[in-house]
Amino acid sequence: MDEPTQIEMYAWMKLTRTFDEQMVAMWKQGRGLGGTFSGRGHEAISVGAGMALGPDDVVAPMHRDLGTYLVRGMRPERIFGNMLGKATGASRGRDANLHGVGDLDLGIIGFISHLPQSLPTTLGVAMAFKYRDEPRAAMTFVGDGGTTSGAFHETLNMAGLWQAPFVLVIENNQYAYSTPLDQQMHSPNFSERASVYGITTVTVDGNAVIDVFETCAEALERARMGGGPTVIEATTMRMLGHAIHDGAEYVPAGLLEEWERRDPVTNHRKHLLESDVASEATLDQLDATARERIAAAIADAEGAPMPDPDTLGDGVYA
């Protein structure tokens, strides 16, 4: 992989991590509105997948895929604005946190709360590409928890049947809210589960951004070329609670320690340094840029106006 791309990965992951940390801090200080979700630990997946997307591809990210939104060009101002219910937010005050942060001009479908509704929707996007014979792919994400829902099965069955240009990333982060894998399913054999539908399956270390990127890039290219759908299981760990209010006392401390050692941002930084791809100074510079970028976004969002209540009814219909 070329060096600039590897450095770019770091920049996006760091921007994502910084956003996440600042967001958590704001909410803890009572400067937030409603609840919010941290994607800490998921940066390699969200950034790796996001960077693998081509300009004409479409993606429907989830609540822990902040990096994908950012890489795809969603300005942090619009995301913080959304979280604070501002008129400048992506949903203009209509939807909360990362929900509804969508923009078809950027090829992003906003997060849909009811799990896993992004699956059939994204299959439809893929089928539209197929219908028009366009070399484009559609990608979405699902948590381990979302895979036990009926829409998972219906979508993958049809994706396999029609060999749609569809890529699904399963973010297996060990928990669905408080529920560990062994209370969700007999065995977390995600690849087997997907392969019965006639779908290519791959498992990847979800904390290794280069691996995620390459796996996704290959799957997306196969999809664009008519090679059909892929399901990628990316293993990782949810490092904070389910949402901001959740202390996640139910997660064994040892598990978090183990995964902390595998932190995707730290490890990619280490890799860049050890392999001499980037210098400490370069990376420090990227860290500083991320801090500034996020500080500016927060300032913008906090300073932005609330929506005018008279706009309540606007946009219910196209």
Partner: protein, 339 residues
Amino acid sequence: MSDNFGFTETPASSGRELTYLEAIAEAIRLEMERDENVLVMGEDVGGGFGGAFKVTKGLAERFGDRRVLNTPIAELGFTGMASGMALMGLRPIIEMQFADFISTAFDSIVQFASTAHYRMDAAVPWVIRAPSDGGIRSGPFHSQNPEAWFVHTPGLKVVAPATPADAKGLLTAAIRDDNPVIYFEAKPLYRSLKSTVPAGEHVVPLGSAVIRRHGTDVTVISYGSMVHQVSAAAEAVEADGISTMVVDLRSLKPLDVETILEAAASTGKVVVTHAANRMAGVGAEIAALIAEEAFESLDGPIVRMGGADTPVPFSPPLEDAYRPDAAKIAGAIRELAAW
């Protein structure tokens, strides 16, 4: 057969007689010819088969499998899929095999399709064709009229044509509309009702009701197949000297509030009726609207007639007891006229 119902079709120019089903099929075919983005999907709609009611018969031969997509039994999945297609500019027409099965796709309709534009400015232009209504001995799972669930849901549009001409015109409008539209077709009318339908392009705007019959004593508001029962009832009570105004709503969401209120005010006496069960049905909305906005013009209670608050029973005596019909409606008109 429309003569039996005692009213003339609104747009009667240059038409031919088509059945209700043929009118639906014609609308689909014309829109598929006009716009490459229009496609049909659903269980058994494709190949030589053409769907459980044969509405889509011949389309696969004409437009190919790409535009007439047979789906597995997966209403939730394929309705959600239609939303994704619609986001990309396609205009899927989804056939539910029976309206009853729409509950299986419910989550996708009421949570995603209905809210996408509000939340992310993205249009979801699909149509669900839902063969609804009973009276033909199909039992509780093939006779439902589930429109109220959707009329209550913001972001959807809901229509229910009563005549072949409206079946064509409303479906054309629904396909061209940029929002998710649920189109309830009255399956008892499919082959039993034949009347004049304009040839070529014919659009009936969503949100416009029509007065099927003018009258001065009592206003009866209805939609779908029940309009014909109302017309027959109006005919019957004329012999008693009662003059009935018949309103066919056509669109249930958005409602044509102006026409409803004017028609209600003009006679001061109103009956609202539909085949769906009465409790918290669409009739409740109409009655509540009138009770609030036309209260001063009212000369009597607003009478609602709907199905009983039971599943739709299969056996003829039970189903007949369940459904409003011309005789029951005539009874209600007479009673209200005498009030």
